[in-house]
């Protein structure tokens, strides 16, 4: 029997039927440009603003604080490079962590090689940033701190509220990449000391190619691209109306009962962790409790990640890995190296990201499949010590 077990929700999630249904009219019948004054433009404009309200209400923010983008990558770039451009005359120091997604990390690195001073804060063995270190890294020239809410690889949740409070007390902008966190952690921007937040629809059962940046009122950010006056001049370009409509519906659905859903998903996650840790020579990466409810990241010693992925794929299970072979570069993932894994542990890393639809039965099937696969690969491994 072939199985179809999707445990790669951290990569992307399937589009929800209700989301698709809301999007469909905007792909065909309702074709107007939201910037047009005539009635063809009015309808998509209304839909756009309704989506904005939905995102705002999901975040506890105001609609005018939501700017639609092409996704999480653009939102991160807009926040980081946009603040750098806006505040370059005031200061040229930016702080981030060693475990950010490349969309943030590389944007900061780029600024670092173009006249800015940058600090990459280390993390502990669980992938956590120490707020004290943020505090002591801030100097008179610091204009921005950007630290992700939840890590995409090992799932570790950062103390963003504490970091945000430090930044606010010192008058420094705080941006967080919340791409992995939406739908798992409740947000209330009215109460949280966060100035900017990035999100991406396809990580929470919305369409690909659309995201948003929350920008607290009066935060100074410059646009990165030039064009028309869309998104209150911060993000020019005719809006991806259907995508934005989908984003609005998806975030409304995913943020409803978020605590309860997270509790249920955590139980499933812990069942998988327990099952995997029963296999010999397997370790859990990331924080044991302060982690995304769907994230399981393990290192399987004596075997390499890609061969694990291929073997699981043949058993109908979709997962991912941070090994050099699968990272698309010649090095294993920067996150796994930053939490102090040696090369062997990084090469044997495996990430399962659970989501809506995964069941206990699937988790148990996966544990059993792993037992077989790991045993088979270890038998032919040149480094396996019995």
């Amino acid at each position: 029997m072939t199985r179809d077990i999707y445990m790669d929700h951290g990569a992307t999630t399937p589009l929800k039927e209700e989301v698709l249904q809301e999007m469909l009219p905007y792909l065909k019948e309702i074709h107007g440009n939201p910037s047009s004054l005539h009635r063809f433009g009015r309808e998509p404009r209304k839909a756009l603003e309704k989506a904005r309200e939905r995102v705002a209400s999901a975040l506890g923010a105001e609609p005018e604080e939501i700017y639609f983008t092409s996704g999480g990558t653009e939102a991160n770039n807009l926040a980081i490079q946009g603040v750098a451009r806006a505040l370059a005359s005031r200061g040229r120091h930016i702080i981030t962590s060693a475990v950010e997604h490349h969309a943030a990390l590389d944007a900061v690195e780029y600024l670092g090689s173009n006249g800015f001073e940058v600090t990459f804060l280390p993390v502990d063995e669980y992938g956590m940033v120490d707020p004290e270190e943020v505090s002591s890294a801030i100097n008179d020239g610091t204009i921005l701190v950007t630290i992700m809410t939840a890590n995409n690889e090992v799932g570790t949740l950062q103390p963003v509220e504490e970091i945000g409070r430090i930044c606010r007390a010192k008058g420094v902008y705080f941006h967080t990449d919340a791409v992995q966190a939406i739908g798992h952690i409740p947000f209330n921007m009215e109460q949280m000391p966060i100035d900017m937040l990035s999100l991406s629809a396809h990580k929470f059962y919305g369409p690909k190619g659309v995201g948003a940046l929350y920008v607290r009122r009066k935060t100074r950010v410059h646009k990165l691209q030039f064009g028309g006056g869309q998104e209150r001049k911060l993000r020019p370009g005719t809006e991806n109306v259907a995508g934005i409509v989908g984003l609005g519906k998806a975030i409304e659905l995913v943020t409803a009962n978020v605590e309860e859903k997270s509790r249920n998903l955590s139980r499933l996650r812990d069942r998988l962790v327990e099952g995997l840790l029963e296999l010999p020579d397997v370790r859990l990466n990331g924080h044991p409790t302060r982690r995304l409810p769907g994230n399981v990241n393990v290192s399987v010693f004596y075997v390499e990640g890609e061969s694990l992925l291929l073997s699981l794929d043949m058993k109908g299970i979709a997962a991912s890995s941070g090994s050099a072979c699968t990272s698309g570069s010649l090095e294993p993932s920067h996150v796994l190296m930053a939490i102090g894994l040696d090369h062997q542990a990084a090469q044997g890393s495996l990430r399962f990201t659970l989501g809506e639809g995964n069941t206990e039965e699937e988790v148990d099937y996966t544990t059993e499949a792993m037992r077989e696969v790991v045993e088979r690969l270890r038998k032919m491994s040149s480094v396996y010590k019995k």
Partner: protein, 124 residues
């Protein structure tokens, strides 16, 4: 991304496992790139009569080790030395470009095993 032949060798590796008292052993690769291959050979009258492998690595690394053992079994030392990494990749119907230099090391491991065999027979 992999050819059917690669997947076949990955799924049903030929001659995988440790060899008892081999005449030559060759190991290449390192943990940093994530591929370590070990080739064991038995030599009788200048012929490679038996060959086995142990590999830590990705699908391409395992498949190239496996297909190499099929290509080499029964060949003379001279013939075996003429087999290159590229020949191994060709035998598999090609490998994805990024895998060509990091995981396609089986012939190197074999050549090292032959060196080891030659050194041992010199010293005895």
């Amino acid at each position: 991304m992999y050819s059917e032949k690669v997947m076949d060798h990955f799924q049903n590796p030929r001659n995988a496992g440790e060899m008892e008292s081999p005449d030559g052993v060759g190991e290449v690769g390192n943990m940093k790139c994530g591929d370590i291959m070990k080739i064991f050979i038995k030599v009788e009258d200048d012929l490679i009569s038996d060959i086995k492998f142990l590999t830590f690595g990705c699908g391409a690394a395992i498949a190239s080790s496996s297909v190499l053992t099929e290509m080499i079994k029964g060949k003379t030392i001279e013939e075996a030395l003429a087999v290159s990494n590229k020949d191994v990749a060709d035998e598999l119907g090609g490998l994805p470009a990024p895998k060509m230099h990091c995981s396609n090391l089986a012939a190197d491991a074999l050549h090292k095993a032959i060196d080891d065999y030659k050194n041992k027979s010199k010293s005895t």
